[in-house]
């Protein structure tokens, strides 16, 4: 068997692939965070909790209404997005004119409340959700067995990431959004309803968290704490990529997933720290992040 750095090569290829899969979750989650931060200047700590809500909604759709995975890919993000709209209109919009820390505290509190409610209702061990049959089974790649569903997740993540990046950076809607955040008064004077645009942007960012939740439901145990375990890493991804940079969040998400995957082979104990070590190094060298613009 071919060896690389004392480890069997198939194992390393496997890790590379797994890193990309984990990276797709980091990318999808940090994408929503980056949009909300970049366009609204809100540090949304509730993002992980909303990801969890997305997974529970997916489970609930099947369990209570018999709605399966494919429709849930549309329905669950819409529901989570609608919930995001509700909290934006009733709570978060009041923090726009305040110091950025108020929004952070508010969303952090929201995350705790959401987790508390779901823990009380469903318990801490959570519920189990099975993915669609067509995606069950494994592919034999020679060096490893790859579950079909995980391959699907990578494909879906790439499509989603490209779609969002394209919308924000290349379409007129995206241009409008970016303009509205640069100079809301000017854009409003052209007859654009800026508050509505901002609300919908927030809802869109939150819906992305919900969508990641749908994709995660068949992979992980659907439990109230599932967002908390991810959110710290995802914040590190956003910081490394450059706060608010959408392309940066996507590339960093995939990159860090791969770095973490290799750490799990060579020194597993460091696998949860490596992301933050990278963050520290990046911040020392480039305080605005890899792809951030210096303010």
């Amino acid at each position: 068997m071919m060896m690389i750095l004392g480890k069997p090569a198939p194992l390393l290829f496997g890790q590379l692939l797994l890193g990309i899969i984990n990276g797709s979750f980091y990318a999808m989650l940090s994408l929503g965070l980056a949009i909300i931060f970049g366009l609204l200047n809100v540090i949304n700590f509730a993002h992980g909790a909303l990801f969890m809500v997305g997974a529970f909604v997916t489970w609930g759709l099947l369990h209570y209404l018999g709605i399966g995975f494919w429709p849930a890919l549309i329905v669950a993000p819409v529901m989570v997005g609608a919930f995001g709209l509700l909290i934006e209109r009733t709570l978060i919009r009041f923090t726009y004119k305040l110091d950025i820390l108020y929004g952070l505290l508010l969303t952090f509190g929201l995350a705790l409340v959401l987790e508390g409610i779901f823990t009380n209702a469903f318990g801490s061990s959570g519920v189990s959700y099975d993915g669609p049959n067509i995606l069950s089974g494994t592919l034999n790649l020679g060096f490893m067995y790859l579950p079909v569903y995980r391959a699907f997740v990578v494909f879906a993540a790439i499509v989603i990431c490209f779609g969002v990046w394209f919308t924000i950076e290349k379409t007129s809607l995206g241009a409008l959004l970016r303009a509205a955040t640069e100079n809301p008064a000017l854009v409003q004077s052209f007859g654009v309803n800026v508050p509505r645009l901002i609300s919908l942007t927030f809802a869109g960012g939150v819906a992305l968290a919900g969508l990641a939740g749908v994709l995660a439901a068949p992979l992980y145990s659907v439990n109230p704490g599932m967002g908390t375990s991810l959110i710290n890493t995802v914040f590190a991804v956003v910081v490394i990529g450059g706060m608010g940079s959408i392309g940066g969040a996507i590339l960093t998400g995939f990159g860090l997933g791969i770095i973490q995957g290799f750490t799990e082979v060579f020194y597993p104990a460091a696998s949860s720290v490596v992301v933050f070590a990278v963050m520290a190094v990046v911040l020392l060298a480039r305080p605005a992040g890899l792809f951030g613009r210096v303010a």
Binding site: N22, G123, S124, S128, D130, P147, L219, S271
Partner: protein, 410 residues
């Protein structure tokens, strides 16, 4: 699991009532007692302790007939939030408020910390939900009883059975903290002692890890035929679920070294089927356990008790019997005296049957090796286990001579 609005409101109301009790109730002057459940009410171990443990304590008091016998028992509860600092502070405050017994306490780090508090305050402490065998080893004291299970019992029952069944080559995935290491070390020792072999071990960061795929791939490429999971709670649930996604259950046998029925419920039988595990209590074992389940079910309809929670029932019932036998409420404030009385009497209850407490504070119960049923075999809700083997109480736990408990003069 279905949750109606009524049960939700009910849960909330019980919580409020429990918090308000010590202030809102007139107490009889003579035979009043306080029992505090210190557990995880909000985090990863809530389902194996938490509200269901409180329900089991109330059931024990009802079955004992505390009210009819003139005892006025207040049940308090505290959330240790998985932090030894919070847990210790809670125990100190409870004991200072006159609590006579602290019970439950999942998480070995907190379980051991509270053991020291019980000793300092000289009050009784029954741990039903920590795994560390060191509770009756180097940390053992005269105020503490360790109910239910420990790492020695789990490693010998599950590990021993797997090796006997032909699973000689093991790969371990271990939660990187004291509990995981102890469980891994003891199981690996059993495996080697019985002629098996450890092919590898990987420690995963606790509690941040959700994706275990790279550890599972390492296990798959190790050439081992048994995958030993030295983990607990949602980590085990995630590990088993993801092992399925990679098809590992087809090439390796999975041994959950600490799995509760609540975890099996969380996984669902589709995924959990075939898993080998050890518990010392299962509600559907015999007529007595089923009778216990029928009585306690209205108090915890959506979460059936696992061994630790049933241990809260068994422990409180025995504590009340000891208090009754002492027949002197002043002596009850002497924790060492209560525990000495508990050790003198054999235990007998519907959950655990007849058993006893050893001199070092070890509750001596049978260890049952179970296999999780397939969805087709399961006949009703929570009908999850098939009994494979029973380790009698006198062989299930570490011999006292090997433990190093300071109470035991060798």
């Amino acid at each position: 699991m279905t949750i109606s609005r009524r049960t939700l409101l009910g849960t909330a109301a019980t919580g409020v009532a429990a918090a308000a009790l010590p202030f809102g109730r007139a107490r009889a002057a003579s035979k009043s007692l306080k029992i505090a459940v210190i557990s995880d009410f909000s985090g990863p171990y809530r389902d194996i302790g938490g509200p269901t443990s409180v329900a089991c304590v109330h059931q024990a008091l009802a079955d004992f007939g505390a009210k009819d016998k003139g005892y006025d028992v207040t049940v308090l509860q505290g959330d240790h939030q998985e932090s030894p600092a919070v847990g210790t502070a809670l125990a100190q405050r409870f004991y200072d408020q006159g609590v006579d017994l602290v019970i439950d306490v999942p998480n070995s780090a907190i379980g051991i910390a509270i053991e020291g508090v019980a000793h300092d305050k000289n009050r009784a402490y029954i741990n039903t939900n920590s795994a560390s065998s060191e509770i009756t080893g180097k940390f053992c004291n005269a105020q503490t009883v360790h109910w239910t299970y420990d790492t020695y019992m789990l490693s010998h029952s599950t590990g021993g059975a797997m090796v006997k069944g032909g699973g000689k080559k093991w790969f371990f995935i271990t939660a990187d903290y004291a509990f995981g290491h102890l469980l891994h070390d003891q199981t690996a020792a059993v495996v080697k002692q019985m002629g098996g072999q450890e092919m590898g071990n990987v420690n995963f960061p606790f509690p941040q890890t959700t994706d275990f795929s790279s550890f599972l791939i390492q296990a798959q490429s190790s050439g081992a035929d048994v995958l030993g999971l030295a983990s607990a709670g949602k980590d085990t649930v995630n590990l088993v679920k993801q092992a399925h996604q990679f098809g590992i259950n087809k090439t390796m046998k999975i041994a959950g070294l600490l799995v509760f029925i609540n975890d099996v419920h969380g996984m669902g039988l589709d995924i959990a089927q075939g898993l080998t595990l050890t518990e010392s209590f299962y509600w559907n074992m015999n007529d007595r356990t089923r009778a216990f389940m029928a009585r306690v079910k209205p108090r915890t309809p959506n979460n059936y008790p696992s061994m630790g929670q049933a241990g809260c029932y068994s422990g409180v019932l025995h504590f009340m019997k000891a208090v009754e036998a002492m027949n002197n409420m002043a002596d009850v404030k002497n924790g060492a005296a209560v525990v000495a009385q508990m050790k003198k009497m054999p235990t007998d209850d519907d959950a655990y049957g007849k058993a006893s407490i050893r001199e070092d504070g070890r509750f001596m119960c049978n260890a049952y090796l179970f296999r999780v049923k397939t969805p087709a075999e399961s006949k009703g809700p929570w009908d999850y286990y098939d009994l494979l083997a029973t380790t009698p109480a006198d062989q299930a736990f570490m011999p006292m001579a090997a433990e190093g408990c300071p109470l035991i003069k060798t």
